[in-house]
Symmetry: C2
Subunit: 222 residues, 2 copies
Protein backbone atom coordinates (compact mmCIF):
# COMPACT_ATOMS: atom_id res chain seq x y z
CA UNK A 1 0.00 0.00 0.00
CA UNK A 2 2.79 2.43 0.89
CA UNK A 3 6.02 2.11 -1.06
CA UNK A 4 9.55 3.20 -0.10
CA UNK A 5 11.09 5.94 -2.30
CA UNK A 6 12.95 4.61 -5.38
CA UNK A 7 16.35 5.82 -4.16
CA UNK A 8 16.14 3.56 -1.11
CA UNK A 9 15.06 0.66 -3.31
CA UNK A 10 18.12 1.11 -5.55
CA UNK A 11 20.49 1.20 -2.61
CA UNK A 12 18.85 -1.91 -1.23
CA UNK A 13 19.37 -3.65 -4.59
CA UNK A 14 23.07 -2.71 -4.47
CA UNK A 15 23.42 -4.04 -0.94
CA UNK A 16 21.62 -7.29 -1.75
CA UNK A 17 23.64 -7.81 -4.97
CA UNK A 18 26.87 -7.32 -3.01
CA UNK A 19 25.58 -9.71 -0.33
CA UNK A 20 24.75 -12.36 -2.95
CA UNK A 21 28.36 -12.22 -4.21
CA UNK A 22 29.62 -12.87 -0.67
CA UNK A 23 27.08 -15.67 -0.22
CA UNK A 24 28.38 -17.35 -3.39
CA UNK A 25 31.91 -17.27 -2.03
CA UNK A 26 30.76 -18.73 1.31
CA UNK A 27 28.82 -21.44 -0.53
CA UNK A 28 31.98 -22.30 -2.46
CA UNK A 29 33.94 -22.66 0.78
CA UNK A 30 31.25 -24.87 2.36
CA UNK A 31 31.22 -27.13 -0.74
CA UNK A 32 35.01 -27.29 -0.81
CA UNK A 33 35.21 -28.22 2.88
CA UNK A 34 32.18 -30.52 2.74
CA UNK A 35 30.33 -28.56 5.43
CA UNK A 36 26.53 -28.55 5.82
CA UNK A 37 25.72 -24.93 6.77
CA UNK A 38 22.26 -24.25 8.21
CA UNK A 39 20.84 -20.79 8.90
CA UNK A 40 18.39 -20.81 11.85
CA UNK A 41 15.85 -17.97 11.72
CA UNK A 42 12.86 -17.01 13.91
CA UNK A 43 11.28 -14.37 16.15
CA UNK A 44 13.20 -13.52 19.30
CA UNK A 45 12.59 -16.18 21.94
CA UNK A 46 11.28 -18.93 19.63
CA UNK A 47 13.85 -21.31 21.12
CA UNK A 48 16.71 -21.33 18.59
CA UNK A 49 19.45 -21.47 21.23
CA UNK A 50 17.65 -24.07 23.35
CA UNK A 51 17.17 -26.29 20.30
CA UNK A 52 20.82 -25.91 19.29
CA UNK A 53 22.08 -26.71 22.81
CA UNK A 54 19.87 -29.83 22.95
CA UNK A 55 20.76 -30.89 19.40
CA UNK A 56 24.51 -30.44 19.88
CA UNK A 57 24.43 -32.32 23.18
CA UNK A 58 22.61 -35.25 21.55
CA UNK A 59 24.58 -35.55 18.27
CA UNK A 60 28.06 -34.20 19.01
CA UNK A 61 29.54 -37.69 19.43
CA UNK A 62 28.42 -38.55 15.91
CA UNK A 63 29.15 -35.26 14.11
CA UNK A 64 31.67 -32.45 14.34
CA UNK A 65 29.81 -29.15 14.83
CA UNK A 66 30.71 -25.46 14.99
CA UNK A 67 28.37 -22.54 15.64
CA UNK A 68 28.13 -18.89 14.59
CA UNK A 69 25.95 -16.87 16.96
CA UNK A 70 24.34 -13.67 15.69
CA UNK A 71 22.97 -11.16 18.21
CA UNK A 72 22.58 -7.42 18.35
CA UNK A 73 24.17 -7.41 21.78
CA UNK A 74 25.57 -9.75 24.48
CA UNK A 75 27.36 -13.11 24.24
CA UNK A 76 24.73 -14.92 26.32
CA UNK A 77 23.75 -17.39 23.61
CA UNK A 78 27.38 -18.10 22.68
CA UNK A 79 28.09 -18.91 26.33
CA UNK A 80 25.16 -21.34 26.45
CA UNK A 81 26.43 -23.03 23.27
CA UNK A 82 30.04 -23.11 24.57
CA UNK A 83 28.90 -25.12 27.59
CA UNK A 84 28.19 -28.04 25.23
CA UNK A 85 31.92 -28.13 24.41
CA UNK A 86 31.72 -27.21 20.71
CA UNK A 87 33.42 -24.19 19.11
CA UNK A 88 31.26 -21.08 18.89
CA UNK A 89 31.92 -17.59 17.49
CA UNK A 90 29.79 -14.62 18.54
CA UNK A 91 28.94 -11.96 15.96
CA UNK A 92 27.38 -8.82 17.47
CA UNK A 93 25.48 -6.97 14.76
CA UNK A 94 25.00 -3.86 16.99
CA UNK A 95 22.45 -1.84 14.97
CA UNK A 96 21.97 -4.38 12.15
CA UNK A 97 18.81 -6.47 12.25
CA UNK A 98 20.28 -9.54 10.52
CA UNK A 99 23.51 -11.35 9.70
CA UNK A 100 24.93 -10.81 6.20
CA UNK A 101 27.30 -12.82 4.04
CA UNK A 102 30.31 -10.60 4.78
CA UNK A 103 29.93 -11.13 8.54
CA UNK A 104 30.01 -14.89 7.96
CA UNK A 105 32.95 -14.59 5.54
CA UNK A 106 35.00 -12.67 8.12
CA UNK A 107 34.12 -15.07 10.93
CA UNK A 108 35.16 -18.05 8.76
CA UNK A 109 38.74 -16.69 8.61
CA UNK A 110 39.23 -17.76 12.22
CA UNK A 111 37.56 -21.19 11.99
CA UNK A 112 39.16 -24.46 10.89
CA UNK A 113 36.40 -25.99 8.76
CA UNK A 114 38.27 -29.16 7.75
CA UNK A 115 36.85 -31.42 10.47
CA UNK A 116 33.38 -29.78 10.51
CA UNK A 117 30.22 -31.71 9.51
CA UNK A 118 27.67 -29.04 10.47
CA UNK A 119 27.95 -25.27 10.71
CA UNK A 120 24.93 -24.00 12.65
CA UNK A 121 24.34 -20.28 12.12
CA UNK A 122 21.93 -18.72 14.62
CA UNK A 123 20.62 -15.51 13.08
CA UNK A 124 19.34 -12.42 14.93
CA UNK A 125 15.81 -13.01 16.25
CA UNK A 126 13.74 -11.32 13.53
CA UNK A 127 11.07 -12.73 11.21
CA UNK A 128 11.59 -10.03 8.57
CA UNK A 129 15.11 -8.90 7.65
CA UNK A 130 17.12 -12.18 7.71
CA UNK A 131 14.79 -13.51 4.98
CA UNK A 132 16.47 -11.21 2.42
CA UNK A 133 20.08 -12.13 3.19
CA UNK A 134 21.61 -15.29 1.72
CA UNK A 135 24.61 -16.26 3.88
CA UNK A 136 25.69 -19.09 1.56
CA UNK A 137 23.89 -21.67 3.70
CA UNK A 138 22.51 -24.96 2.37
CA UNK A 139 19.10 -23.94 3.71
CA UNK A 140 17.25 -21.67 6.11
CA UNK A 141 15.42 -23.40 8.95
CA UNK A 142 12.56 -21.31 10.38
CA UNK A 143 11.28 -21.83 13.92
CA UNK A 144 7.81 -20.82 15.15
CA UNK A 145 7.00 -21.44 18.81
CA UNK A 146 3.44 -22.39 19.71
CA UNK A 147 3.14 -19.34 21.98
CA UNK A 148 3.54 -16.94 19.03
CA UNK A 149 0.31 -17.84 17.25
CA UNK A 150 -0.37 -20.09 14.25
CA UNK A 151 -0.74 -17.08 11.90
CA UNK A 152 2.95 -16.15 11.82
CA UNK A 153 3.72 -17.78 8.42
CA UNK A 154 0.75 -15.91 6.96
CA UNK A 155 1.86 -12.57 8.42
CA UNK A 156 5.55 -12.91 7.57
CA UNK A 157 5.35 -14.97 4.36
CA UNK A 158 8.76 -14.17 2.89
CA UNK A 159 10.64 -15.89 5.70
CA UNK A 160 8.75 -19.12 5.05
CA UNK A 161 9.09 -18.80 1.27
CA UNK A 162 12.86 -18.60 1.76
CA UNK A 163 13.07 -21.50 4.27
CA UNK A 164 13.13 -25.21 3.46
CA UNK A 165 12.18 -26.41 6.93
CA UNK A 166 9.60 -25.22 9.48
CA UNK A 167 10.21 -26.31 13.06
CA UNK A 168 7.20 -25.78 15.34
CA UNK A 169 8.79 -25.50 18.79
CA UNK A 170 7.72 -25.53 22.47
CA UNK A 171 4.96 -28.07 21.80
CA UNK A 172 5.00 -28.85 25.56
CA UNK A 173 3.06 -25.56 25.93
CA UNK A 174 0.29 -26.58 23.49
CA UNK A 175 -2.20 -27.42 26.28
CA UNK A 176 -1.93 -23.83 27.58
CA UNK A 177 -2.26 -21.83 24.35
CA UNK A 178 -4.55 -21.49 21.33
CA UNK A 179 -2.37 -22.78 18.50
CA UNK A 180 -3.49 -24.95 15.60
CA UNK A 181 -0.45 -26.91 14.35
CA UNK A 182 -2.17 -27.92 11.09
CA UNK A 183 -3.21 -24.34 10.37
CA UNK A 184 0.34 -23.09 10.97
CA UNK A 185 1.78 -25.68 8.55
CA UNK A 186 -0.95 -24.92 6.00
CA UNK A 187 -0.09 -21.19 6.16
CA UNK A 188 3.61 -21.95 5.68
CA UNK A 189 2.79 -24.15 2.66
CA UNK A 190 0.90 -21.31 0.99
CA UNK A 191 4.19 -19.38 1.09
CA UNK A 192 6.24 -22.47 0.20
CA UNK A 193 4.43 -25.67 -0.87
CA UNK A 194 7.59 -27.78 -0.43
CA UNK A 195 8.46 -26.71 3.13
CA UNK A 196 9.18 -29.66 5.42
CA UNK A 197 7.50 -29.37 8.84
CA UNK A 198 8.58 -30.96 12.12
CA UNK A 199 6.91 -30.31 15.50
CA UNK A 200 9.09 -30.67 18.57
CA UNK A 201 9.84 -29.68 22.15
CA UNK A 202 13.44 -29.14 23.23
CA UNK A 203 12.19 -29.44 26.81
CA UNK A 204 10.44 -32.83 26.67
CA UNK A 205 12.31 -34.24 23.66
CA UNK A 206 9.14 -35.01 21.68
CA UNK A 207 9.87 -34.77 17.93
CA UNK A 208 13.65 -34.62 18.30
CA UNK A 209 14.18 -38.07 16.73
CA UNK A 210 12.56 -36.85 13.52
CA UNK A 211 14.70 -33.69 13.61
CA UNK A 212 17.92 -35.67 14.11
CA UNK A 213 16.98 -38.08 11.29
CA UNK A 214 16.51 -35.08 9.03
CA UNK A 215 19.92 -33.65 10.01
CA UNK A 216 21.56 -37.04 9.43
CA UNK A 217 19.93 -37.28 5.99
CA UNK A 218 21.56 -33.95 5.05
CA UNK A 219 24.99 -35.48 5.73
CA UNK A 220 24.18 -38.76 4.01
CA UNK A 221 23.10 -36.98 0.83
CA UNK A 222 26.54 -35.47 0.48
CA UNK B 1 32.59 -6.16 16.04
CA UNK B 2 31.64 -6.03 12.33
CA UNK B 3 30.56 -2.67 10.96
CA UNK B 4 28.46 -1.83 7.89
CA UNK B 5 30.25 0.06 5.11
CA UNK B 6 30.18 3.89 5.53
CA UNK B 7 28.06 4.41 2.39
CA UNK B 8 25.20 2.44 3.91
CA UNK B 9 25.58 4.35 7.15
CA UNK B 10 25.26 7.69 5.33
CA UNK B 11 22.16 6.58 3.47
CA UNK B 12 20.66 5.38 6.73
CA UNK B 13 21.36 8.79 8.30
CA UNK B 14 19.53 10.46 5.38
CA UNK B 15 16.56 8.13 5.77
CA UNK B 16 16.38 8.65 9.53
CA UNK B 17 16.72 12.45 9.23
CA UNK B 18 13.87 12.48 6.72
CA UNK B 19 11.83 10.24 9.01
CA UNK B 20 12.43 12.58 11.96
CA UNK B 21 11.02 15.49 9.96
CA UNK B 22 7.84 13.50 9.28
CA UNK B 23 7.65 12.47 12.95
CA UNK B 24 7.79 16.15 13.98
CA UNK B 25 4.86 16.93 11.68
CA UNK B 26 2.87 13.99 13.07
CA UNK B 27 3.68 15.10 16.64
CA UNK B 28 2.38 18.57 15.77
CA UNK B 29 -0.89 17.11 14.48
CA UNK B 30 -1.33 14.97 17.61
CA UNK B 31 -0.72 18.01 19.86
CA UNK B 32 -3.08 20.14 17.82
CA UNK B 33 -5.85 17.53 17.94
CA UNK B 34 -5.14 16.58 21.58
CA UNK B 35 -4.52 12.93 20.70
CA UNK B 36 -2.42 10.57 22.85
CA UNK B 37 -0.53 8.46 20.27
CA UNK B 38 1.12 5.27 21.52
CA UNK B 39 3.45 3.08 19.45
CA UNK B 40 3.25 -0.61 20.50
CA UNK B 41 6.41 -2.59 19.69
CA UNK B 42 7.49 -6.19 20.36
CA UNK B 43 8.58 -9.50 18.85
CA UNK B 44 6.02 -11.24 16.63
CA UNK B 45 3.45 -13.01 18.79
CA UNK B 46 4.11 -11.16 22.06
CA UNK B 47 0.41 -10.36 22.31
CA UNK B 48 0.09 -6.78 21.01
CA UNK B 49 -3.19 -7.42 19.18
CA UNK B 50 -4.70 -9.44 22.04
CA UNK B 51 -3.84 -6.67 24.51
CA UNK B 52 -5.30 -3.99 22.22
CA UNK B 53 -8.54 -5.94 21.69
CA UNK B 54 -8.93 -6.46 25.45
CA UNK B 55 -7.99 -2.85 26.26
CA UNK B 56 -10.32 -1.34 23.67
CA UNK B 57 -13.21 -3.57 24.80
CA UNK B 58 -12.70 -2.47 28.42
CA UNK B 59 -12.17 1.29 27.97
CA UNK B 60 -14.03 2.22 24.77
CA UNK B 61 -17.05 3.56 26.69
CA UNK B 62 -14.79 6.01 28.48
CA UNK B 63 -12.43 7.02 25.66
CA UNK B 64 -12.58 7.46 21.90
CA UNK B 65 -9.98 5.24 20.24
CA UNK B 66 -8.65 4.66 16.74
CA UNK B 67 -6.03 2.14 15.64
CA UNK B 68 -3.31 1.94 12.96
CA UNK B 69 -2.25 -1.65 12.28
CA UNK B 70 1.19 -2.30 10.79
CA UNK B 71 1.91 -5.70 9.24
CA UNK B 72 4.09 -6.97 6.42
CA UNK B 73 1.12 -8.88 5.04
CA UNK B 74 -2.57 -9.70 5.76
CA UNK B 75 -5.31 -7.70 7.48
CA UNK B 76 -5.87 -10.33 10.18
CA UNK B 77 -5.03 -8.05 13.08
CA UNK B 78 -7.09 -5.18 11.69
CA UNK B 79 -10.09 -7.54 11.44
CA UNK B 80 -9.65 -8.58 15.08
CA UNK B 81 -9.49 -4.91 16.14
CA UNK B 82 -12.50 -4.00 13.95
CA UNK B 83 -14.64 -6.53 15.83
CA UNK B 84 -14.41 -4.27 18.91
CA UNK B 85 -16.27 -1.59 16.94
CA UNK B 86 -13.50 1.06 16.80
CA UNK B 87 -12.01 2.47 13.59
CA UNK B 88 -8.89 0.70 12.35
CA UNK B 89 -6.63 1.30 9.35
CA UNK B 90 -4.34 -1.44 8.04
CA UNK B 91 -0.89 -0.49 6.73
CA UNK B 92 0.88 -3.33 4.91
CA UNK B 93 4.62 -2.64 4.87
CA UNK B 94 5.29 -5.47 2.33
CA UNK B 95 9.10 -5.72 2.44
CA UNK B 96 9.68 -3.09 5.15
CA UNK B 97 10.43 -4.34 8.65
CA UNK B 98 8.89 -1.38 10.50
CA UNK B 99 6.40 1.47 10.20
CA UNK B 100 7.86 4.90 9.42
CA UNK B 101 6.58 8.44 9.95
CA UNK B 102 5.48 8.91 6.32
CA UNK B 103 3.25 5.80 6.47
CA UNK B 104 1.52 7.26 9.54
CA UNK B 105 1.28 10.70 7.92
CA UNK B 106 -0.44 9.24 4.84
CA UNK B 107 -2.81 7.13 6.93
CA UNK B 108 -3.80 10.20 9.00
CA UNK B 109 -5.18 11.90 5.86
CA UNK B 110 -8.15 9.53 5.98
CA UNK B 111 -8.83 9.68 9.72
CA UNK B 112 -10.92 12.26 11.59
CA UNK B 113 -8.80 12.86 14.69
CA UNK B 114 -11.04 15.49 16.31
CA UNK B 115 -12.98 13.13 18.61
CA UNK B 116 -10.00 10.80 19.27
CA UNK B 117 -8.50 10.39 22.77
CA UNK B 118 -6.08 7.57 21.96
CA UNK B 119 -4.36 6.57 18.72
CA UNK B 120 -2.95 3.07 19.20
CA UNK B 121 -0.30 2.24 16.60
CA UNK B 122 0.59 -1.48 16.41
CA UNK B 123 4.00 -1.74 14.77
CA UNK B 124 5.38 -4.70 12.77
CA UNK B 125 6.46 -7.51 15.13
CA UNK B 126 10.21 -6.87 15.31
CA UNK B 127 12.43 -6.07 18.30
CA UNK B 128 15.10 -4.34 16.18
CA UNK B 129 14.07 -2.00 13.36
CA UNK B 130 11.04 -0.15 14.82
CA UNK B 131 13.35 1.15 17.60
CA UNK B 132 15.03 3.52 15.11
CA UNK B 133 11.87 5.07 13.67
CA UNK B 134 10.08 7.86 15.53
CA UNK B 135 6.48 7.99 14.29
CA UNK B 136 5.64 11.15 16.26
CA UNK B 137 4.13 9.13 19.10
CA UNK B 138 3.99 10.29 22.72
CA UNK B 139 5.84 7.10 23.68
CA UNK B 140 6.80 3.62 22.61
CA UNK B 141 5.35 0.78 24.68
CA UNK B 142 7.40 -2.42 24.46
CA UNK B 143 5.87 -5.83 25.16
CA UNK B 144 7.83 -8.94 26.18
CA UNK B 145 5.88 -12.16 26.68
CA UNK B 146 7.05 -14.56 29.38
CA UNK B 147 7.54 -17.32 26.81
CA UNK B 148 10.28 -15.34 25.02
CA UNK B 149 12.82 -15.41 27.86
CA UNK B 150 13.79 -12.79 30.44
CA UNK B 151 16.98 -11.87 28.54
CA UNK B 152 15.26 -10.06 25.67
CA UNK B 153 15.86 -6.49 26.99
CA UNK B 154 19.54 -7.38 27.40
CA UNK B 155 19.82 -8.80 23.87
CA UNK B 156 17.84 -6.05 22.12
CA UNK B 157 18.71 -3.05 24.32
CA UNK B 158 17.90 -0.24 21.90
CA UNK B 159 14.19 -1.07 21.82
CA UNK B 160 14.00 -0.74 25.61
CA UNK B 161 16.16 2.41 25.65
CA UNK B 162 13.65 3.99 23.25
CA UNK B 163 10.52 2.82 25.14
CA UNK B 164 8.97 4.42 28.19
CA UNK B 165 6.90 1.43 29.25
CA UNK B 166 7.67 -2.30 29.45
CA UNK B 167 4.62 -4.58 29.50
CA UNK B 168 5.45 -8.15 30.51
CA UNK B 169 2.61 -10.16 28.93
CA UNK B 170 1.12 -13.68 29.07
CA UNK B 171 1.84 -13.98 32.80
CA UNK B 172 -0.77 -16.78 32.91
CA UNK B 173 1.96 -18.96 31.33
CA UNK B 174 4.54 -18.23 34.08
CA UNK B 175 4.00 -21.60 35.82
CA UNK B 176 5.01 -23.41 32.61
CA UNK B 177 8.16 -21.49 31.61
CA UNK B 178 11.50 -20.37 33.06
CA UNK B 179 11.10 -16.61 33.21
CA UNK B 180 12.31 -14.33 35.99
CA UNK B 181 10.11 -11.19 35.97
CA UNK B 182 12.52 -9.23 38.22
CA UNK B 183 15.49 -10.12 36.01
CA UNK B 184 13.63 -9.01 32.87
CA UNK B 185 12.76 -5.64 34.45
CA UNK B 186 16.33 -5.24 35.77
CA UNK B 187 17.70 -5.86 32.24
CA UNK B 188 15.29 -3.30 30.78
CA UNK B 189 16.36 -0.74 33.43
CA UNK B 190 20.02 -1.14 32.44
CA UNK B 191 18.96 0.06 28.98
CA UNK B 192 16.57 2.66 30.39
CA UNK B 193 16.59 3.36 34.17
CA UNK B 194 13.26 5.22 33.97
CA UNK B 195 11.23 2.57 32.14
CA UNK B 196 7.89 1.85 33.81
CA UNK B 197 7.09 -1.86 34.10
CA UNK B 198 3.68 -3.53 34.32
CA UNK B 199 3.09 -7.30 34.32
CA UNK B 200 -0.22 -8.51 32.93
CA UNK B 201 -2.21 -11.23 31.24
CA UNK B 202 -4.76 -10.30 28.56
CA UNK B 203 -6.23 -13.79 29.06
CA UNK B 204 -6.89 -13.75 32.83
CA UNK B 205 -7.06 -9.97 33.28
CA UNK B 206 -4.37 -9.89 35.99
CA UNK B 207 -2.53 -6.54 35.89
CA UNK B 208 -4.97 -4.84 33.53
CA UNK B 209 -6.23 -2.41 36.21
CA UNK B 210 -2.72 -1.00 36.58
CA UNK B 211 -2.40 -0.74 32.77
CA UNK B 212 -5.74 1.09 32.46
CA UNK B 213 -4.81 3.46 35.31
CA UNK B 214 -1.61 4.27 33.47
CA UNK B 215 -3.52 4.95 30.22
CA UNK B 216 -6.00 7.15 32.08
CA UNK B 217 -3.14 9.11 33.65
CA UNK B 218 -1.80 9.90 30.15
CA UNK B 219 -5.13 11.58 29.32
CA UNK B 220 -5.38 13.37 32.67
CA UNK B 221 -1.92 14.89 32.27
CA UNK B 222 -3.01 16.63 29.11
Amino acid sequence: MIKPVPRVLEIKKDILAKNDEGAKRNRGVFADRDVVALNFVSSPGAGKTSLLVKTITDIKEKFSITVLEGDQSTSNDARRIAETGVDVTQINTVSACHLDASMIEKALHDIDLSPVDFLFIENVGNLVCPASYDLGELMKIALVSVTEGDDKPEKYPKMFRMSQVLLITKTDLLPHVDFDVKKCIAHARIANPDIKAITLSSKTGVGLDEWYSFLTSLRNKK
